[in-house]
Amino acid sequence: MSIQLALDGVNRSFDGFKAINNLSLTVEKGELRAVIGPNGAGKTTMMDIITGKTRPDTGDVLWNQHIDLTRLDEAGTARLGIGRKFQKPTVFETQSVEDNIALALKDDRSVWATLFHRRSDADTARITELLDLVKLTDARDAMAGDLSHGQKQWLEIGMLLAQDPELLLVDEPAAGMTDAETMRTAELLRGIAGKHTVVVVEHDMDFVRALNCRVTVLHQGHVLAEGSLDHVSANPQVIEVYLGR
Amino acid sequence: MTRLRRWLAVTLLLLFPISAAAQTPVDGDFAALVGALPDASFAEVEALVGRIAATNDDRAIDVLEALAEGDLHTLDSNAAVVIVRDVGGDDHAFDALTGESYGEIPRRGSSAIRVNNSLRRAVAAAVGTLTLRHPDPARRLEAAQAAFDAPDPAQADALAAALDAEQDAAVRQALSEAVARAVLQDDAATVPDRRAAIDVIAARRDGVALGVLTPLVQSPDTEIAEAAGAAVERIERARQMWNMAQNVWFGLSLGSVLLLAAIGLAITFGVMGVINMAHGELVMLGAYTTFFVQNIIRTSFPGLFDWSLLIAAPLAFLVAGAVGVAIERGCVRFLYGRPLETLLATWGVSLILQQTVRSIFGPNNREVGNPSWMSGAFEIGQMTITYNRLWILVFALAVFAVLLIVMRRTPIGLQMRAVTQNRAMAANMGIRTGWVDAMTFGLGAGIAGLAGVALSQIDNVSPNLGQSYIVDSFMVVVFGGAGNLWGTLAGAFSIGIANKFLEPYAGAVLAKIVVLVAIILFIQKRPRGLFAVKGRAVDA
């Protein structure tokens, strides 16, 4: 198996505060990985760095072992095949659910191509399929802004899948979902892993358990422990961080 | 008869210049010297003028000036030397020695002692030397400066003598420069003397010194040429320094105006995030308040005029502040979180305020006077500082300092910052956010009013006053970094100074354009300004 993503000695500080501290992490192609850690551990910042939103002060971020992600911006990483779902769901509120998916659909992103774009039958079919998958078929023509919080989460997942990225970065997808939905999300992510590489950040331990994958524990900007959930749960440092004080 | 005497005298003088002294008037004998004037030739008169001056007689200046004016006559009736003065349109003669009046004289009853141009110059120089001993130091200074302006090697000794006797420092300075310049004009002067003279002149370090010394660089005497060259270079450097200092001063002055105009905006835009396009009109209201106050003072309490600005300042603060609170309560508060809409609505407010003022006070410029302490200027070295600019700078810095203290040290300042940083949390802690918003906006507006008081002193007070500052003040806030008062300070002064340094090269308008373009480019590099407020919140 080859390595999809490798962070090596990454540092980033904000006004002297080290949000990411000598972080090294590798994710294999097709792997499903959960990243956990207390609030402020730097999980979201890590995703910002991978997607080119935030530049690291030092360190390397390599894609497929040869492309330097730190030189790309958000659109650049997205075009490379990195999709991201945000902690706070952001969809295009004034557009229909269908259009939201259509915008995300994998396609030529250049200005001219979008200007003269005509939606093919294959596109329409794919949109229908995705809406089905995220259970938003009935809301197809609804304004995305009118969806409930959970529905927006699903829509965002749908948009993420529409992009058909190689790597999915999923930030706290279960927030605002019912238990059943949470389990469905876990199932869905497990399902797409293998074809895609998936990195999930989550607080919800049941969710992480349901993912049944390798877990990385982040604390104060660096990796505290890594391994199966049971393995890291047994780690005294991890216990200290999560339950301590 | 007369002709014969003159011929004799001249011949004698020419033939026996020394022995003739017995027949010619003795030096110091003022009366005799004056008496010799009518019959002397131009050359002789010139000599006599010098000797008359040398007597230091109190009457000498009058006589010599009359001579130069052509008012020194001899009466045909008794050959007395008289000064002819105009008395009520008629010519009256007064004895040159006694001052005794001969009354009105007939047109042809006297003949003027004739003068030519070179004689006039000699008289002027002689009078200058005489004035050098005038009891009034101001007159002496004038004379010394006149001697400097019309250097005459022949005067050098007289000047040096005056210098020795002189007590007043300023006059001494002027005299020594005059001596030096006279020495430089004197081809016979020794090299060390001339070098010393160059040093004295060079010490002036101004354009005049440059004018005197530059020709000397071409002097055939290499030592002099070198000394002059070095001095010229020194002066050029000094002048550049002063030039720069003057530019810095102009820049600071412009900066203080920008600071005043922008600082209220730094509160409303920087702290509250509200774009108040009516800010300029609040400045204008402050200026009109000043006009109004001065008007009342002029008509009812003229004695208080010097206090008019001090009276107007708090009133302007209150007027503009009240209008500001009204704007916030009546309009801005419905638009929080929608900065672009706020911009449009406050633009509407600005139109209304402008038109209101136009309707009340008319569209024309209004006259706002400078109190005495705001008028005039003083000099430091080679730069001129006007009092109004100086006071405006002081005022701007004072306003800035007070604002800083209000924001940092007072409860209301604390509440303002709390509300702007986290409205919901502040509300939960019992802060009346609506009230704090109104006060913050009112504070920014009040400061705009204060700016108006200051700007009324240097700008035309018209309904359009505010318009001319709005783009500039936004530039200052944006350049400095919104939300940071120090940034506003730095922004205002750097924009002001940059502008004034460009002006000599590019002209005022082009300088302004260049600065605008530079700021636009700068914002590309640092979209959050010089002193950006960092953090995740601004990223969102």
């Binding site: 509120e93 259009d99 200005v111 774009h117 802004g145 | 706020t342 509407g348 936004f474 636009i520």
Partner: protein, 369 residues
């Protein structure tokens, strides 16, 4: 897929068509009893404003770029056309110089500045009408969008841009007639600008340009690119993460909009008979924004309506009570932004359908807030 001509667009274009046919035809039929020539020009002027408003709505309404400098693009287009009209005067100027416009003779120019070359040809001027504003928009937008200057900051620097241009054009040394600008035009393509027929022709041309502008804008906003623009307006950062290069999209629409504004300016100049640096004034550019806001932001047709309503109101009110107009305009700014965020069109459609029609805007705002 929404049709290019939906109901509101259809009604508006129909109205425009009626006006365009009725006025010149009426004038032909009843010679000078129907609509006086100056009113025709006045209407033509409003149509230019309407096109300008559509241009601004394209960037502001659909992409969230509140440009406070659109007057600059309009003025550049106007100057480009004005330069051609100046050259066409030829030796009929006061000084009778065949090559140099009067103001240059007056300012002792001995040759035509290089940037005036080519403007004697109409087609060249037409290209410049598009190119000059387009190039300015491209350069400005390139820098501004690439460095992600957004929101209020962008608005302020666009304002600074037009302000700087105003100062520049006021300078005699710029070679654009300084204070007085370009004026005293005689004819265009041989047609006398004072004649009723030419005026009617220009009026019809303005109407066609407005219709074309509306349709182009509609085509853009209806395309997938239009959806990307709205996405940028509502959630710029999200759009980037899907892989769209936001700066390219902004640049595209900004340049298109600037060119549209340039065309509006080019049609405006011959009808008004003068173009001067006052057109660059920041106040003018802010005025455009209120047309759009009043008519209904993000509706295109509404923006055009807003421009016509405000223009007509200004003409009528300044005629009847000159003092009052500014108060009305000021009040309009406040009232519309606070009470009519969807503009006139939104209000009309709401009352007609009794359901939130222009909801795209309200929700957009909530999303932003």
């Amino acid at each position: 897929m929404t049709a290019l001509i939906d109901r509101r667009m259809g009604i508006f274009l129909a109205g425009l068509f009626v006006l365009t046919v009725a006025i010149p035809l009426g004038n032909l039929a009843f010679t000078d009893r129907f609509v006086p020539s100056y009113v025709v020009s006045l209407f033509g002027k409003y149509l230019c404003y309407a096109l300008l408003a559509v241009a601004l709505d394209l960037v502001w309404g659909y992409c969230g770029i509140l440009s406070l400098g659109h007057g600059a693009f309009f003025a550049l287009g106007g100057y480009a056309m004005g330069m051609h009209l100046m050259r066409e005067i030829g030796d009929r100027g006061v000084y009778g110089n065949p090559l140099l416009p009067d103001f240059m003779v007056f300012l002792n120019y001995d040759a035509l500045p290089w940037y005036w070359l080519g403007f004697d040809m109409f087609w060249f001027a037409c290209i410049m009408v598009l190119l000059a504003p387009g190039a300015l928009a491209f350069v400005f937008g390139w820098f501004a969008f690439r460095s992600r200057v957004t929101g209020v900051y962008l608005s302020i620097i666009t304002q600074a841009m037009t302000y700087a241009l105003m100062l520049a054009f006021f300078r005699n040394e710029m070679g654009f007639g300084g204070n007085n600008g370009l004026t005293d035009f005689k004819d265009v393509l041989g047609f006398n600008l004072q004649s009723d027929a030419t005026r009617a022709g220009l009026f019809v041309l303005s109407a066609i340009a407005l219709a074309a502008g509306l349709l182009i804008a509609k085509a853009i906003t209806n395309s997938k690119l239009g959806k990307v623009l709205i996405a940028v307006r509502d959630a710029e950062s999200r759009t980037r993460f899907i892989g769209y290069r936001v700066e390219h999209y902004k640049l595209f629409v900004f340049v298109v909009s600037a060119m549209m504004a340039g065309v509006a300016g080019a049609l405006y100049t011959p009808q008004v008979g003068i173009i001067n640096p006052g057109e660059f004034s920041p106040a003018n550019s802010i005025g455009i924004v209120i047309w759009v806001a009043l008519g209904g932001r993000g509706t295109l047709v509404g923006a055009a309506m807003g421009a016509i309503i405000v223009g007509a109101a200004q003409t009528l009110l300044t005629g009847w009570f000159p003092e009052i107009w500014i108060f009305v305009l000021g009040a309009l700014f406040i009232f519309v932004t606070i009470f009519m965020p969807q503009g006139v069109l939104g209000v009309i459609e709401n009352t007609l359908r009794r359901r939130p029609a222009a909801r795209d805007l309200t929700t957009a705002r909530e999303a932003k807030a």
